[in-house]
Subunit: 402 residues, 2 copies
């Protein structure tokens, strides 16, 4: 089998951890598999490099920042090659440009365009473990680019898709995907499997296990993906197209996102096109708006509420207040002390009682629901931030109690 | 003018030093010049990376070590680009592979084969300062190589030769080339100019200012070379083909090398071919032999003495003792407490009195000469190590006293 394995920065943070990870790689190789390994930068390397840059220039060009940051993954793969050599496992480290990882030119958040299989195939044919620096590529000018957040996951999935790998294993510091955050919800259980779509909803809802881009790519190319632990040798969570629910679970997980704010545009005129004006202004400003709620007010005016990421709050206020007269609203009200709690599950599609059970759980704890949004496999509510953990536990008990 | 500037690792060791060096680059650029800058890795970066490697594998493959070490220079050029950006000087950082720095495959000590001018020329045409990572290249397999000691000097000279630069400036932490080590000899004076050949002799004699490979390349391509200070803005020492000695100096400098040992093979048979056997064995073992002295002994045997680098002593002893019976000598005697003191100067060629004046200076201090070797522009003596500093000062006074 051809197996792509990805290990994150904390899994290769020091010599001892590199040795442990090398053990996993060696076992996979010695079992007769072809192995491509994607590594992130060690521990705090990327942050340290960013600090170095900011000491010199508070606002360096993204082109040069990518040139700088890409060294982190190069260090990881070279060190891992040395560790494997010591264990008499033939290995070769390769940077993004060496495997022909072509991207567009969006420095800091580049998109993969093409990966050349030639070099990796040649090394695999020599029975070598191929160690690839994650997170990085090269654009048409031969300049180094980085892929942005979750870049190494994306590198791994893209390589698995390109090489038609039999498996793509993402090793992390958790044992897999859980029904809820196991640090917060004691009864949270690990899922054996989850669908790409469920994983996508969970990822975008603040679950940090896998980045959305990698899951989207896995779905598109039908990559056999598994999330598992670098520390404990046991099966993790499979991410795939269709999951047969042996346990008849209706939902797969509960996620909490506290990095949101609720914005209310108060007193907009009750006339056609007003919502369009508000949201097209935000869209031009590259602000992603999530849940939207429009409520009728008194005296011919409405309120429009929506959620945005906390990081976008200042910019959102600025954009709206610039257009206050043009749109004709009264004022903007922003609440940063809210949280979005969501349940995700492919089983929801055919089960209309799910929403009721969620609301019931919240009502039991006297938690007020400010906004509601639903998709085919997701149901989100916005509530007060200080009630979020309580809400997750209550919902989890409602759905997963034996 | 097209000017190539090279700054060593201590000159870019931290943010403050990067800023100072950027000032030199900016002034050169703002004066209307095209500027290519070659940088070494910051301060202790290379040593830190080697430590990281050795923590994992005491004997890593050179291929992987080069992959690891090459990041040091990449960090330097990216940071310098950010500093120049802040000063509104357009700049672009480039790694070895990006400028088409082709080398052979001798990892850790690669030789430059060819440099593509295309990328650098394109960036210069855009009025950008081109920042090149020194010390590194790429072989025909697209693998990263490093050039070994003095690699960044060599990178700078090779680029100057390839781009037909008007000047190649090597910035260091000294103000130029001195007649002797200024830390040891108070009267040492800076030379305005020195010939390539003199510089070569001085470099190979342990003077750390410029590495031999870079000087050899400068001589071959007639590169206008200058050694000057990163810290003091004044002219340094020009290195060129012919130097007109305005001061009529017979010698240009005095160098001391304490990293040598004197090896004596005692009691070799007085018959033809014995010296050949000794030195061909050492040559096969890649041992460089320097000064050779053969002395007639009693009873039909001779002694053969020579100097080797201290690092080669163990291997030399091993090679000789393996062949003890085949060659038929008595025993090997090694003295590590010796030093080689040399005077260098193109003026020696036509001046037979130079040797006499050197010996006179040594005799005046009762320093015993163990071995002597001379070339057209160099005269070396081997003496006891603890007398070396005294010898340098005495010789310096002899030749440079006003």
């Amino acid at each position: 089998m051809l197996i792509v394995q990805k290990f994150g920065g904390s899994s290769v943070a020091d010599a001892a951890k590199i040795e442990r990870v090398a053990g996993i790689i060696a076992d996979t190789y010695n079992a007769g598999n072809e192995v491509v390994v994607v590594l992130s930068a060690q521990g705090d390397t990327t942050d340290d490099l960013i600090d170095k840059a900011h000491e010199i220039n508070a606002n360096p060009s993204k082109r040069e920042l990518d040139m700088l940051l890409s060294v982190g993954e190069q260090i990881s793969v070279a060190l891992m090659a040395m560790q494997l050599e010591k264990m008499r496992i033939p290995a070769v480290s390769l940077a993004g440009w060496q495997i022909g990882m072509s991207t567009n030119s969006t420095y800091g958040g580049a998109r993969i365009k093409k990966i050349s299989t030639e070099r990796m195939r040649r090394e695999l044919d020599k029975n070598r473990v191929v160690l690839v620096a994650g997170f990085q590529g090269v654009n048409k000018y031969d300049d180094v680019t980085t892929l942005g957040r979750g870049g190494s996951d994306t590198t791994a999935v893209a390589i698995a898709a390109t090489l038609h790998a039999d498996k793509c294993q993402i090793y992390t510091d958790v044992e897999g995907v859980y029904t809820a955050d196991p640090r917060k919800v004691p009864n949270a259980r690990k899922l054996d499997a989850i669908t790409y779509d469920e994983m996508l909803e969970l990822a975008s809802l603040g679950s940090q296990v896998l980045h959305n881009r990698s899951v989207e790519m896995a779905k598109r190319y039908n990559v056999d993906l598994e999330v598992l632990s670098s520390y404990v040798r046991k099966p993790g969570t499979k991410v795939k197209e269709v999951v047969r629910k042996v346990e008849q679970m209706i939902i797969s997980g509960i996620a909490k996102d506290t990095k949101v704010a609720r914005v209310t545009v108060v007193g907009v005129p009750d006339e056609p096109g007003v919502a369009f004006k508000v949201f097209s202004a935000l869209s031009k400003g590259k602000i992603n708006v999530d849940i939207i709620l429009q409520s009728a007010g008194l005296g011919g005016t409405n309120d429009i509420s929506f959620t945005v990421a906390l990081d976008d709050v200042a910019r959102t206020r600025e954009i709206l207040e610039e257009r206050m007269d043009a749109i004709g609203f009264d004022h903007v009200n922003i609440d940063e002390k809210v949280a979005k709690v969501s349940i995700v599950g492919a089983g929801m599609m055919n089960n209309s009682g799910v929403a009721v059970r969620m609301f019931e759980a919240l009502q039991g704890k006297r938690i007020n629901i400010q906004m509601i949004s639903s998709s085919e496999i997701k149901l989100s509510v916005v509530i007060a931030e200080d009630q979020a953990d309580q809400a997750v536990t209550a919902i989890h008990d409602q759905f997963f109690q034996d």
